[in-house]
Each structure stands twice: as structure tokens, then as C-alpha cells.
Subunit: 240 residues, 2 copies
DNA sequence: CGAACACTTGATGGTCCTCAAGTCGAGTGG
DNA sequence: CCACTCGACTTGAGGACCATCAAGTGTTCG
């Protein structure tokens, strides 16, 4: 529906990868400048998503992938019985929507945890252009493969049975992803609620809360609602 | 190292997607005939892997992806402390090695559970050819996306806390994959040991054994060692 | 035939879930 | 501004489920 906006609006939100504020992340990471310029041609528009609204829902036809410019997202899988399972949290510089390529429809809901902005990369353009555009094709493969590896690590985490280790791994992972974006690595703002953390880690929200308290008692972190401060990163990593 | 074999051996094992026995699966699923012929040019050789041997190991340079012609594989992630986590089981018609694209090295060990044969699709060729070969590029994207979705479903399974449901889902998934290959859907030969099933599902081998016995007592399956017969598929699905 | 491995089954204990009560903070309307 | 409400979070008590430890059977292979 956003593709239907007026051309004035398109101009207003016209994206420019060349001038993108994201520091060498997103789709253009490691790209030579001439490729970044060509990448510009793939990106028609940006799109704003209000907190709590979704970027896409499971079953929506797969029409684009999205690069996050600002704001956190969660992706959730809704099961037949109505319960939902959090599949991951996504921060600026990361790419959303790769799960839609297979069936031609998105497999998850992508919900904004804060007011957010994304770059829209329409499907129609991207396979067409990457066809004659070697850098993009390889980059796309890398991003998809990274997604596969990320999920493999997550499966390994869920398979390991220590709840405390899972939460520690969750915090370490977030800290490293913040750090890769040049942000503070010890002072984390977690925009997601305890229930979603629990769903992601295969735990109940009460367990998550108890474990935060436990890590606090062990002097590994400080907890103030959604602000988590890491006091002893080495100690956290030792729990894995 | 297999790429170094004599040209006679190469001829002997020369693959032909056109004549492949796999019924519309593997890489060529849904491809127009002229594309299948072009696909032939990507596939240099086949390679045999003896039971218990590995096709590749974590850290090996990513030099090819592999389409399984015969035999089961498991992929395992070895953690720092030496314990290993099973990431998945793979049957003929499926593709192995997608996790290597990202870092340029494989992330998992791929181990043959039976004597097996794979088609080797060298990296050097495939990105080069898919560059000027639209059908392959799209197909590759689909296969990678399918892998992402498969792992998402697996994560959802591990997040749900019912051990019996996990094992039931495992059996249903296997039955459906056999069925997609035109094989018997109720009489399954599981080439993997209980310990690996447990690792995959986040359970201990004793629990897996107990759950097989429980499903047997509930008249949902018959258990004879590695042969599992599904007596009540609807009943199994109801456990999810 | 012996040894190593795969598997099954039992007893016990720990971890995490369930149910429940209560605090804190944000947002709303009187 | 305060009372109210609602959602997010914390903490406690009890119990279910699965892991652990252990013993024993069956199978494979040199």
C-alpha cells in the first residue's frame, strides 16, 4: 500500500544509500562506491511504522525486503492455536523479510517495538537488477546465509538446557550487535517486554524476571526496568 | 580434494541433472527443461561419502554447495567446550552447505548417517553462472529462504515446552518429507541414533526413549529399533 | 565370543512452570 | 492534580516434568 503513495511523497521519502547515516551496515556493507550508487536505484521509498504496528503480517504477499533505518522490530510466528512465538529481534542496519522469498508470502509478523523507519526494496526490482549486478547478488546471498547462521546459533542456544545461560547469551548477543553499530555496549535499552524475551528464549516471563534478579544478585548486571547495564561481560560469557 | 580426482573419474561420476532420478526435487524442482540443461553445466562431479564420514567440517573453506542424491546426513555444530549440537537431518533431494556463504567457511559439520552420494556444485561456477542465468538465481534464493523458514519452524518447536509434542512434530516432519519424495509416509527408517534425536530436540536420549515408549503405549506408533511405524497420524498431529 | 555401543526402564532430585499476590509506572479522565 | 485503571514487572509457594544416575537387555562388529 505504501507503494501507492503520491509521487510527492515518494520524493519526500526517497532513499539515498549513498548518504545513509548507517555506518557501513545494512545492505551496502563493504560495497564499492559505484555499487552503492546502483543500490540506490533499487530503493524506491522509505516507510514509517508506528510503535506496535506491523511492517507486514504472515501471509501478506512477499513484495519487498526491508532494511531497518531506525527502531527495533520483533518477528513473531503465530501458531494454529493462536499462541505466538517470537522468532527474533531486529535492530537498525539489519534486514527483514528474507523468510518470504520461499513461499512468496511472509512467514512471520514483523512488529515495530518503537516508532521505526525502514528502506523498502521492492522484489520486482531487486531480482531483476541483481541479475545484471554481481555485487548485489553476492551480498544478498551473504545476508541470507547470515540469517541461516544466526538461526542455527539460536537453535543451539534453545537446545542447551540452562535457562540462565540462555538469558546471558541473549544479553551478550544484544551487546555485540549494539557494539557493531558503534553504540554503548554496556548500557542496553531493551524495548521488548519480558514476555517476548521469554517466548524468544523458550522461558516463561516469571522465569525471565527471576533470572534478571539472579544475574543482578551475582553482580553481573544492573536492572532498571528496560534498562540493563552489563557490569561483568566476562562473567556473563562464562555462563555459556 | 575430490575436485582433484582424475578426468576419468570425473567422467564416471559426471552428473546429469537432466537424467536425475530424483523426482522433481533437488535444485531443479519446477525448472523449465532448458534451464535444467544449463544447470548441468554447474555440476561437475558427484561424490561418495561413507557412513560416519563427513562431507565437510566446520571451518572448511566454503567451496561448493551439495545436493543430496542418496543417503541421510546430519549437520552438527561443535561448541567451544566440545559438546556438539545437532542442527538438522537432511535427506535426498535436499541441499547442504548454505550456511557457508556468509563467512566463506562452513559453520557446521555435515556427517553421512549412511553411505551417501551428493552432487557437487562448485562455488566458483555457481555465482558466476547464476549471474547470467535468471532461473538459477531465483531458485537459489528460494532454497535459502526455505532453509530460513525451516529453521524458524524448528526454533518455534524448541521454544514450545512439551517434550512429547517435540518428538511428535519430529516424526510428522519426517513423514511429510518422505511423502514429498513419494516414499512411504507411515513406515519410517530413522538412520540417526536416539542421542542425536535428543540433541536435535533439546532432550536427553533417555527422554527420547521414554517418549517413544509413551507414544507406543498410546497406540500412536510402533517402535522397532530404528524402524518407526506411524499408526495414527491424526493423533500425532493433535499433540502439537 | 567379548567388547563396545544402542537402547530401555527404574528411582530420585533439580529446574522451571503454574498459580497467586502485590508493587510500580504510564496513561486517562474527572 | 489526583484517583483510577491497566499493563509490566517482581517475588513467593508448590508441583510437574525432565535430567541425572544406575542397571540391565539387545545388537553389531572385529
Amino acid at each position: 500500500m505504501n507503494e501507492l503513495q503520491s509521487s510527492a511523497a515518494i520524493d519526500k521519502y526517497a532513499a539515498s544509500c549513498t548518504n545513509c547515516v548507517l555506518p557501513g551496515l545494512c545492505l551496502r556493507s563493504g560495497m564499492p562506491p559505484e555499487d552503492v550508487e546502483r543500490l540506490d536505484r533499487l530503493v524506491y521509498t522509505r516507510r514509517n511504522v508506528k510503535q506496535g504496528k506491523d511492517l507486514y503480517r504472515a501471509g501478506d504477499p512477499f513484495s519487498a525486503i526491508y532494511a531497518i533505518r531506525s527502531g527495533f522490530f520483533k518477528s513473531e510466528l503465530v501458531l494454529q492455536d493462536g499462541r505466538s512465538q517470537i522468532m527474533g529481534f531486529h535492530m537498525p542496519g539489519e534486514v527483514l523479510g528474507m523468510d518470504g522469498i520461499n513461499a512468496g508470502a511472509f512467514a512471520c509478523n514483523a512488529v515495530a517495538l518503537e516508532d521505526a523507519e525502514v528502506c523498502v526494496i521492492p522484489l520486482s526490482r531487486f531480482e531483476e537488477i541483481s541479475h545484471g549486478f554481481f555485487g548485489v547478488a553476492h551480498l544478498l546471498h551473504q545476508i541470507m546465509s547470515r540469517e541461516i547462521v544466526r538461526e542455527q546459533r539460536m537453535m543451539a542456544l534453545l537446545g542447551s538446557n540452562a535457562a540462565e545461560a540462555r538469558l546471558a547469551a541473549f544479553l551478550v548477543d544484544l551487546a555485540e550487535r549494539f557494539s557493531a553499530r558503534g553504540e554503548a555496549t554496556s548500557d542496553l535499552k531493551l524495548p521488548m517486554i519480558r514476555k517476548d524475551i521469554g517466548s524468544f528464549l523458550g522461558l516463561k516471563l516469571e522465569t525471565v524476571s527471576r533470572l534478571f534478579s539472579k544475574l543482578r544478585d551475582e553482580k553481573l548486571i544492573e536492572v532498571r526496568k528496560k534498562r540493563i547495564r552489563i557490569l561483568d561481560m566476562a562473567g556473563l560469557k562464562q555462563l555459556l
